[in-house]
Symmetry: C2
Subunit: 253 residues, 2 copies
């Protein structure tokens, strides 16, 4: 049984709280949040505190706070030599205060407050300063997820950048697809099966093998007709750059 204290009340904190509560190998000892009312729908008030002075003993302290607050909050902890981890993709492990043992517990997923996720399928990327702490984090991670990876700070940064491409930027391309549909009185629903299938394909094929479309075929007739069709400057620029990138990518194969 791993005893855990979570610090934070945001999106990631809430998803972690739910996942930790559901596991029978984890004891969620306490959650520390500035505004505990944000968590009253998830937890009994006896498990909540807004004061670091009331913080309970645990095996792992999980700082699920904003990237910019990680360093400062880690300095406020009123104890030393405990295992303190943050949950960020983009903050180095060494940004944590040196009063405690450092680690990272990074769930690689896009969390929305309004949509539940199956935590078991979320890859957890772990980092620790020593083998014993790594084992503690590994036990914690495996208690709530089936996919656990050891990832260094540099690799985690790479992963975070890659995640921006395959999730944030991808979602923005969905937004542009939606824009084009609205401009032409088309229901965005028409595109949804295509969006699903495109994501499904790369679960089985490599993205290079899965690539289709006019740019892959270097079909300049279709490309030019699309560029003529697009009136929005921004949409045009994105079309040009990504088309060029696909053509260059194909040449290198």
């Amino acid at each position: 049984m791993t005893k855990v204290v979570v610090i934070g009340a945001g999106n990631v904190a809430q998803h972690l709280i739910v996942a930790f509560k559901e596991s029978n190998q984890i004891e969620l000892v306490q959650v520390v949040a500035r505004d505990v009312t944000k968590l009253s729908h998830l937890l009994n008030s006896s498990l909540l505190t807004s004061s670091f002075s009331e913080i309970k003993k645990a095996d792992v302290y999980v700082l699920a706070v904003n990237d910019t607050a990680i360093e400062a909050v880690s300095k406020q902890l009123p104890f030393s030599n405990q295992l303190v981890v943050h949950t960020s993709g983009s903050v180095a492990m060494t940004d944590l205060d040196s009063n405690n043992r450092k680690g990272v517990f990074y769930p690689l997923q896009t969390f929305s407050k309004t949509k539940a996720v199956n935590f078991k399928e979320i890859p957890i990327c772990l980092e620790a300063e020593n083998e014993a702490d790594y084992k503690t984090l590994e036990a914690l991670a495996k208690s709530c997820s089936d996919v656990v990876y050891s990832v260094s700070s540099t690799q985690r940064k790479a992963l975070h950048v890659a995640a921006v491409f395959v999730s944030n930027f991808v979602n923005h391309l969905y937004a542009i697809g939606n824009e084009i549909c609205q401009e032409n009185q088309l229901d965005f629903d028409i595109l949804k099966p295509l969006i699903t299938e495109t994501a499904n394909k790369v679960q089985l094929l490599s993205p290079t093998a899965a690539q289709t479309g006019p740019a892959k075929r270097n079909d300049t007739t279709t490309i030019n007709s699309h560029l003529t069709f697009l009136k929005d400057h921004n949409q045009k620029e994105i079309y040009k750059l990504l088309t060029k990138s696909i053509i260059d990518h194909e040449k290198k194969l």
Copy 2:
């Protein structure tokens, strides 16, 4: 029972052949292909011909050939006043030869030879010159798919452009994510649940509501640290342009 002749042996033709064969409201009368051996795994040789002079009578002739071949093939058909449709997202209905009645039967999906799809979920976009022909196409489409739309040539072009954004370009962003993983000795598998969840989210939320990440938050610290991390010129340019586009998009909300 709608009688259909398919002309073509490529990717789309093969997926249509399978879907038409599976429907008990469609009679696949014949398939015309230059190289009939390409289809011998799908069809009995009695249903195959490589000669237009042997072409059988049908209610609908489906030209599932390359975009560039549609016009020429439509001119070779040895009959007149029949319903002839193409399956392309980017070719106008009027490109078909005027000897016959024109229509479009455009399944909006990304087809790979190596991956089966559930045709029932594929939106079919229909266009015809008159109501009677539209009804024939609608019956045909509804016999193999649950999602059928009436889409004009202009709308179809918009849809094709939108599809390039939400599928071809999205897949290319997956390829860049894969590249970044490889450069950092990371398994692309780590990103797969994120890819799935990002596609799942926009089935329920609008892309704008689903947007997350540093660009949405205008988090210049993270954005600059990512730009410093990226060494590849092309990856950097795409990162910059899409980040700017997200920031501009958020400002307009």
